[in-house]
Amino acid sequence: MKSVLRHTLRWAGLLVLFAGVWSGSVCHAQTAIESADDNAVTEDDAQNDSGQGLESTITFDESVTEFTAEDITLYTLYSSSSVKNVRAADVPNDDSGKGLDVVWEYEGEPSESLVGFHILRRADAPGSSLEKITAEPLPPTARDYRDASAAPARKDPLFTREKAVPYIYAVQEVYEASAVNSAESAPAAARSNWFHTGRSWLLAAALLFCGTLVVLTYRSREGDPPRIRRIDGLEAVEEAIGRSAEMDKPILYIAGIGSVQQMATIASINIFSHVIKTAAEHATRIMVPCYDPIVMQVMRTVGEQTYQSIGRPDLYDPDNIFFVTESQFAYAAGVDGIIVREEPAAIFLQGVFYAESLILAETGHSVGAIQIAGTDRDAQLPFFIAACDYTLIGEELFAASAYLSQDAPLLSAIRAQDVAKAVLMILMIVGVVMALFGSPDLADIFKVEM
């Protein structure tokens, strides 16, 4: 009954507006709403009741087709919006550039005549009026809207943002023949956030891991050096370099096609530091064709420092560490050419590799070189395992520096890694058990927004 009345009133609203436009001014009319004044329904009542309280007090005379301005006012008063609780809030975890989120509740009955919602906005300043900011109505199922235009403008040259304007919002219900505005929201302004709450768990985990690492490093310096398992690929480093020295053939060190920002490339530079030191001690030539010019510069610095540290700066030739190209397959072709021409006795493939991994490794295999590979790209590991003599799998690449140096503080970092791994395993088991018993998904609890 309530629904019928509400729809009737909405259609009446259309008729009222149509009649108003038709006559061009106030027309002579009979009232369609009887005894409205007598019932004394206030605006607050209308807001609270959403028009539902009119059922017993309003009757609608369909024979009347002309209405006065007073009628229109009364109709607007009684047909208060079904949109409730309009709220506007800053979009969290941003630099204020995403604007404001507007949410609302719709308490009306489902209706085919509901076209959707328009969002109205005004600045929180005296004299401002609501303006429509949506070009088309949002769908009837919509209950939220992100107003990106509420974001303050960027400020050059600092590239920060202007002071945000506080806005007040209302939601307009749009029907096929009428529209009703909701009550206004409280003012809200977009603001820059100082902490990304969606990354809290990540920060906590990083700090815990860092703390564990520091504690274990401190303990190792007090005489509790950790031991790690034997890694064949790293044990073979000496053997490979010794073989090159015996055969009087060069060593080829390939640091992959990663940039210096990538951890696998940094791990490769660390391994290179040990390899070039051993090669220098054996007075063996080492060639390093580079893909990234920054990596080339870093490796040259490492090489120079290493030769100086062992007292043989005369043996260092910067031209042995050279740039080839930044084109993936041109690099592969260039390095393949070097392998075929120089026939190195040992080849190190350490770092970031993509499709060129097997091209390089197979060419190295064809000249009979002993090959030690390592990468963090899981998709390339099978190729290295198939074509190389030894392969550092994933984390072994990062552990290599510590393993080769046998430095206690560095080894303690690997122990911290193992502690973290154990914690993760426990969490996985707990997660599986919780899932089996229908508890909330552990992954949801520790969810991180990237």
Partner: protein, 318 residues
């Protein structure tokens, strides 16, 4: 001091950039942007050093007539040739208008290709042979902007033989909201000037890249041949898994299997299911373990470097 300063810079920058990840504030984003700009600048300077190293290496080899020095000549000619073309030409020559006509028919295909929508249009008074693949079409809109696109297929003479205007397939790469073109709209087809740099890139560099990439197929075959020899239990398991995956991805085998075991519904599609199981259960579990280890390893290494525990990357004695 020579070691302490880089370690101090590394600690400060590492800690700041770590904190930056957790701070979405505009100032933090600005800092991040600037650091990336610095990295780009360093990269440009490093590229100059890299090219200098490349030129020195090949120049010395060519001058000293070292082994395979002729390849060094090729490398130097390619390097300086491309640079010269890029510098002298600057940008492609001005485009020449070859057709100006009015649209007689227009239709948009449902498919979208890599760089935009493909539309088909036809027009009177244009000779099919005068339009080449790669020509550019411009169709002015009422607001002064253009529908613009590259002709992706040369019109054939078949339409002309049937006394119908040739149909031109155009890949529109600047598609903007607005009304589609209608019959009678005038349009122009222009032929871009010769771009030697682009021509060299597309006809030398790209085929050479493709050649290198195609070698991978043969290398995979030779590596697989060695890897799949069942020398021990692990290698035998690898061989069996590989066979399951290869056969599960081979349509003729799947077809044969379904025909041979057509009497048993439960065996239908077994090769594909077995392949999926191998890839999604044991293979995925192992990959996840590796990825987890890589993540922790990278994190540990980052902290080692930021905290100054790891100094190997600086060279010299640790």
């Amino acid at each position: 001091m020579r070691m302490q300063l880089p370690i101090a810079v590394c600690f400060v920058m590492g800690a700041v950039m770590l904190a930056q990840y957790f701070v979405p504030h505009a100032w933090s984003q600005e800092l991040n942007r600037r650091v990336y700009d610095w990295m780009l600048l360093i990269g440009v300077f490093a590229l100059v050093l890299g090219v200098a190293s490349l030129v020195k290496l090949h120049w010395q080899r060519a001058v000293r007539r070292q082994g395979d020095w002729k390849y060094s000549i090729v490398a130097l000619v390619a390097l300086f040739g491309m640079t010269a073309v890029g510098v002298i030409e600057g940008h492609r020559q001005p485009a020449k208008q070859i057709v100006k006509s009015k649209l007689s028919e227009y239709s948009a295909e449902a498919s979208y290709e890599r760089n935009g929508m493909v539309v088909m249009l036809s027009a009177e008074n244009i000779a099919a042979k005068s339009i080449l693949k790669g020509d550019r079409l411009q169709l002015p809109k009422a607001d002064g902007s253009f529908f613009e696109g590259k002709i992706v297929e040369e019109p054939t003479d078949e339409a002309a033989a049937e006394d119908a205007p040739p149909v031109v397939r155009v890949q529109v790469d600047k598609w903007r909201n607005g009304d589609p073109p209608v019959q009678g709209d005038s349009f122009a087809i222009r032929r871009p000037g010769l771009d030697v740099f682009l021509w060299l890139f597309e006809n030398v560099q790209v085929p050479l890249d493709a050649t290198m990439f195609s070698l991978l197929a043969f290398f995979i075959a030779s590596a697989a041949f060695r890897a799949f020899r069942a020398r021990n239990i692990e290698a035998a398991l690898l061989l069996i898994s590989a066979c399951v995956v290869i056969l599960g991805l081979t349509p003729p085998f799947i077809h044969w299997w379904n025909s041979a075991f057509g009497f048993a519904d439960s065996l239908q599609g077994f090769p594909s299911e077995a392949k999926d199981w191998v890839l999604e259960v044991p293979n995925l579990a192992a990959r996840r373990a590796i990825v987890l280890g890589v993540g922790l390893g990278a994190l540990a290494q980052s902290f080692r470097i930021i905290l100054g525990i790891e100094q190997t990357y600086l060279g010299g004695d640790e």
